[in-house]
């Protein structure tokens, strides 16, 4: 029996038809996530990261291959999977509260729903902004509403598409801590897509490196950091070096990045 929240990505290929033939976006992607595992995917823009998440979420059909969640083949969207899109995608006509409630499971008890929304607002630190419209919130706050909305559905599998890319460094670090806390508490299987190497190392138990045209997996690096995940530790630095080297070849060019 498969664990309810394990994810198997098997031989995923995705081609998009183009006027000049077909565009190969993903080619033979294989990743297995154990139940409750946190995996980061890093890769440059355009290598097919969002496309992969959309397939896992059941929003797009792959040209070939399959995704299994808890041993069941993904054939469409399901409440088991929560996706946080690259854009916040808040309904402009809804307040913070109602936007978060929009993510509650169907047919949930009203009172219970209200309680959950209230708890989530506290979790993402938006107390006092319950009635605010998206246009009255900063980009970072909007992102937090979107995160709360995704969590409102209590997904077993969480897909995060560059969730913190648009945030300033401080908000970003706070949100990263928050995600780790939530993940630690709820043991949601999490797949994070990012182009921020530090973020990938900091959050992931494994880092999947992707390269583009067509999108393939280049390497998978298991991450073992000291308990506090300190970003300034030697271990962290050596992972950073390893990934840079993986992407850019020589150690020399890498020094230009620091």
């Amino acid at each position: 029996m498969a664990v309810e929240n394990e994810v198997n990505i098997r031989h995923i290929r995705q081609d998009f038809p183009m006027p000049s033939g077909k565009l190969e976006v993903l080619k033979d992607i294989n990743i297995d996530l154990k139940g409750g595992e946190f995996v980061s995917i890093v890769g440059e823009s355009g290598c097919g990261k969002s496309t992969l998440l959309r397939i896992i979420a059941g929003l797009d059909r792959p040209t070939d291959g399959e995704v299994l969640i808890g041993g069941e083949r993904v054939a469409g969207v399901s409440s088991k999977v929560g996706i946080l899109f690259q854009e916040s995608r808040l309904l402009p006509w809804y307040s913070t509260e109602r936007n978060i409630a929009y993510g509650l499971p169907k047919g949930m008890d009203k009172k219970e729903g209200r309680e959950r929304v209230k708890t989530l607002i506290e979790t993402v630190g938006l107390k006092g902004f319950e009635k605010a419209l998206p246009s009255q919130l900063s980009g970072g706050m909007q992102k937090r509403v979107a995160i709360a909305r995704t969590l409102a559905g209590r997904p077993k599998v969480l897909l995060l598409d560059e969730p913190f890319a648009a945030l300033d460094a401080f908000t970003k670090m706070n949100m990263q801590e928050e995600i780790l806390r939530i993940w630690g508490r709820e043991k949601i299987t999490t797949l994070l897509v990012t182009h921020d190497i530090d973020e990938a190392i900091y959050l992931g138990e494994r880092v999947v490196m992707m390269s583009p045209k067509p999108g393939v997996i280049k390497r998978v690096i298991p991450i073992e950091l000291p308990e506090d995940h300190s970003r300034t530790s030697d271990e962290f630095d050596s992972y950073r070096r390893e990934i840079f080297k993986g992407f850019f070849g020589s150690d020399k060019r890498m020094s230009e990045f620091f």
């Binding site: 979420a57 969207v77 899109f85 309904l91 402009p92």
Partner: protein, 260 residues
């Protein structure tokens, strides 16, 4: 909230000037009429128009004409525009039906409503029905086209979000499609009401024994230029007031839309 307080000085000055401009024109008009700069048989002076207004209002006939026209516009407009929103929604969400009807719609749409008016009289009689139908016809198209465009312009990302959250079609309609279409619907409603006002006046000139259009046409027969102006100005004021009312409703209904 207070719009006036938020305006920059430049805009305040310009707003005041735009009112002054109208006053200035009226003043020039009055002085010109008194000094005989133009023929007052063709262009009555503002004071004559005001006298004529007092007469028409005092006898209650102006109110009666306004009420009659207003009723025709409202019944025709509400049914035509309401149908426009409904059909716009249905066709833009049911693509095969839209395709099926596209040619038929394409043929009917370019026909000027007033060209159909004589036919409507033939079919529905010279009474209220033919006028209401012509106004409904006029109000239908702008609302229909705008509603369709609004649905087409709805944010694909939000619709996909609703799909990812497994919302039903009906739920998606009310939580995403309708709100994002509302600004377009209001644009259509505003366009339609101005068309409807224009339409009622012409219809009343052609075939009616009451209403503002009739008042203008009748005054021409009687060579009462000033009364003609009373009719025209009444239309202008009511049209302006209705548009302001619609804009107010829009700002309340589309509360998240800042630039109304």
């Amino acid at each position: 909230m207070n719009k006036w307080q938020q305006m920059s000085v430049k805009y305040k000055v310009l707003s005041v000037c735009s009112v002054l401009l109208v006053l200035l024109i009226v003043l020039y008009w009055q002085v010109g009429a008194e000094r005989g700069w133009f023929n007052t048989i063709l262009l009555s002076s503002p004071s004559d128009i005001y006298k004529s207004f007092q007469n028409l209002w005092g006898s209650g006939s102006l109110q009666k004409h306004i009420l009659v026209s207003f009723k025709r516009v409202m019944i025709g407009y509400l049914s035509g525009a309401g149908l426009g929103v409904l059909v716009g929604f249905i066709l833009s969400t049911m693509h095969s039906l839209d395709r099926l009807l596209s040619f038929l719609m394409g043929i009917i749409r370019p026909i000027p409503a007033l060209a159909l008016f004589p036919l409507f009289i033939l079919w529905f009689g010279i009474g209220e029905a033919s006028k209401i139908v012509v106004i409904a016809f006029m109000s239908f198209w702008p609302t229909f086209l705008n509603t369709e465009e609004g649905v087409r312009q709805a944010d694909k990302n939000l619709l996909e979000l609703a799909d990812a959250l497994q919302k039903s079609r009906i739920n998606k309609m009310f939580t995403v499609l309708l709100p994002s279409t509302l600004p377009y619907i209001f644009a259509g409603l505003r366009l339609a009401i101005s068309r409807a006002w224009g339409g009622v006046v012409v219809a009343e000139m052609l075939a009616a024994s009451s209403g503002i259009g009739f008042l203008i046409e009748y005054s021409r027969d009687m060579s009462q230029t000033a009364s003609m102006f009373v009719g025209v100005i009444t239309i202008a004021i009511i049209g302006c007031a209705v548009d302001m009312l619609l804009r107010f409703i829009q700002s309340r209904v589309c509360y998240w839309h800042t630039e109304v």
